[in-house]
Amino acid sequence: MSAVIEHDNHEDHHHGPDKGLMRWVLTTNHKDIGTLYLWFSFIMFLTGGVFALVIRAELFQPGLQIVEPEFFIQMTTMHGLIMVFGAVMPAFVGLANWLVPMMVGAPDMALPRMNNFSFWILPFAFSMLLATFFMEGGAPNFGWTFYAPLSTEYAPPTVTYFIFGVHLMGASSIMGSINIIVTILNMRAPGLKLMQMPLFVWTWLITAYLLLAVMPVLAGVVTMMLMDIHFATAFFDAGGGGDPVLFQHVFWFFGHPEVYIMILPAFGIVSAIIPTFARKRLFGYASMVYATSAIAFLSFIVWAHHMFTAGIPITGEMYFMYATMLIAIPTGVKVFNWVATMWKGSMTFETPMLFSVAFVILFTIGGLSGLMLSIVPADFQYHDTYFVVAHFHYVLVPGAVFSIMAAVYYWLPKWTGNMYNEALGKTHFWLSFIGINVTFFPQHFTGLAGMPRRIPDYALQFADYNMISSCGAFLFGFSQILFLFIILQTIRGGKKATDQVWEGAHGLEWTIPSPAPYHSFSTPPKNLEEAHG
């Protein structure tokens, strides 16, 4: 079952891309589509980032200075939605598009037209979402978790467009995941066994499965909202025999797996980069696969740890507490394996490695605060405070976002054929690293001291830490302009990259030229021992 690429209307199948703008609109090429996803994600990252800076500017001092409370909460909501659905998820899908076919030796993604469809839905979905700013009633103002009845009975009319926007994103994610799963299951080079695949491919296989399992549930919950709002159904209205807490159950049944959707591909990236720069094989490959599967399984049965204070039965709280704590075990296995990979390695610290090492350390901090939150009586205190904000930002920013940045630095030479400027890359890393910690570390303390999240004003005793936080946020925000500059500079030129790019790199993608040709594996690769790094 060898695979060879073939085209309509072309004798020669080694042709390159079309010219002009339409190339990007009509393309079916996995690399083009990967690029589109990555740029889209970057634009969303900057947009969501600007919203975050509005929030941090308002919180720089106690009292109301810059924005109205109503606008503040719209900013908070849109920041969360855009970062989760617009920045982090599309970035990982973009990386999957670029890398999965190259890593498994496939000619392209399994369903190339649907691939284009999954991408092009996204700009429409986010236009719909962002358009609500200019509509009557303003943008969604119920937080990214959109709890009913805030998002039903008390929502602005624009909630309807929010709902359809979520439907569109869901459709995009489902089609994208189907494509990735099918590519991995059906398009591997002949002879490439599942347990030979790079971990990035493995983690994406499991992520795609999670997406297929929970995106429809998200679609279900927003549909229930839609019906409650426009057709007087009673899903979330106790007056009709429904229950607002039902919303939280359905939402978090999606929501908790969703947080793993945003971190499993990151695990895969870090598992590719650390061995390269430690110049050792990944420690415990098989246990990494099993741990990832275990995490995915557990992620389905812990959702109500987000609802300890919502009034669920005490037995339920006990169960969800212990189940949540179990996740720490497979997560611990992973952290152990990364550290063991570095142990006695010949390490060098190029930019991707810096981001990856920072990932291991800072993600662990986020995981540990997660464990604290899983303790029911403690969570009664922490819930809806800045401690939760600190927790999920530690797992999402130096977790998911750092891994994406690491991936960009690591594979950019393969994509563009040029090396990025190492000194600038390191500068970018250190500015981000300092910025992020200055922003979020103090929030642990304000949270423990009782500062609630999602408010534009706060008590005076929180003033100092908030000021520090805001300074860190602006530092982090502005250092991303440097990131943009470095990427543009690398695309335009720079030291030529070799095929292998990094001395210690293993994997099929490093066996083809840099920049990777438009069609990488027109005939399937033979050197499969290379595949798993």
């Binding site: 690429i5 429409f124 009319p157 057709f231």
Partner: protein, 304 residues
């Protein structure tokens, strides 16, 4: 296309279809959104109607053309076995995602029945809902709701062993007929294929008519509506989404019938038919779940 001794994976060079589909789906949803908002705000004529019309046309034509293209490529034998396997996997995972969509609604039903109703009646030690309506005694199906003027309860609910039982038999039979049609392809017996496929479609259409009649009866005679509280909510949302899927499934089967009449499908290349029939089986299984949990164990009268 060059002759190759090895298998080739077909990758179209580029395609105008997805961008039009994206535009169409965007306009359709945006239009529906403005219609709904106007409806809820009490605006008479919604400009959204035009947007839906344009969007629906763009989406409809694009999807039609898209499927036509795929079928055409398949007829030209552009697809290798590996390509066909991609479609098989894709369809299987798509159905999995559909199952999860229904799970959300079944989950809501179970949650309401097992917990919410009890809490409304004062069970459990933390039922704020009981504090809101201390005099209220709930009994499933809820014939009156805690907030009785906002949600007017139904007079009666649909008995399970009458029309729903008929519908169950219709759909189960149709699962068999579609399987016979499948065997007919394998045997290369086109006449048998066409007859049994047509029978399946007929069963699906009768199901839809019966369902339509049941809805009419519920709305007009029984006062059971979407707005009559959580029983009506779960009842109509579950059966309604199922009905929508039967409609899609029947449509798929009709397309397959058209293809069968044109001479498509043979024993080793009938993915389109198989996809439609899996979808049909999936729709049947969901119905069996509905029949058991919404009707039979749904707490209403059996009507027997």
């Amino acid at each position: 296309m060059s002759e190759q001794s090895y298998e080739a994976y077909y990758v179209p060079h580029n395609s105008k279809l997805p961008i039009f589909a994206s535009l169409g789906i965007f306009l359709t949803l945006f239009g529906i959104g403005s219609i709904l908002n106007d409806m809820t705000a009490g605006v008479e004529h919604s400009a959204g109607t035009w947007v839906v019309l344009v969007g629906g046309l763009v989406l409809g034509f694009t999807l039609f053309y898209w499927f036509a293209t795929v079928i055409e490529e398949n007829q030209q034998k552009l697809y290798s076995d590996q390509m066909n396997r991609s479609y098989v996997w894709a369809m299987a995972w798509f159905i999995f995602s559909e199952v999860m969509f229904f799970m959300a609604f079944f989950g809501a039903l179970f949650y309401v029945r097992f917990w919410v109703v009890g809490w409304l009646g004062g069970e459990g030690d933390r039922g704020p809902s009981d504090m809101l309506w201390p005099a209220y005694t709930p009994e499933w199906p809820l014939m009156s709701n805690p907030e009785a003027d906002k949600f007017v309860g139904p007079a009666e609910v649909i008995p399970s062993l009458q029309l729903p039982l008929v519908n169950t038999m219709l759909l189960i039979t149709s699962s068999f007929t579609v399987t016979i049609a499948h065997h007919a392809i394998k045997e290369g017996n086109r006449k048998k294929l066409i007859n049994w496929l047509a029978a399946t479609i007929a069963l699906g259409l009768i199901f839809l008519v019966v369902q339509g009649y049941e809805y009419y009866h519920a709305y007009v005679d029984l006062g059971l509506t979407l707005a009559s509280g959580i029983y009506g909510t779960t009842f109509f949302m579950l059966t309604g989404f199922h009905g929508a899927h039967v409609t899609i499934g029947t449509f798929m089967l009709i397309v397959m019938l058209g293809r069968a009449l044109k001479g498509h499908f043979d024993a080793d290349d009938c993915f389109g038919f198989e996809a439609a029939s899996w979808y049909w089986h999936f729709v049947d299984v969901v119905w069996v779940g509905l029949f058991i949990f919404v009707y039979l164990l749904g707490g209403g009268p059996t009507g027997f």
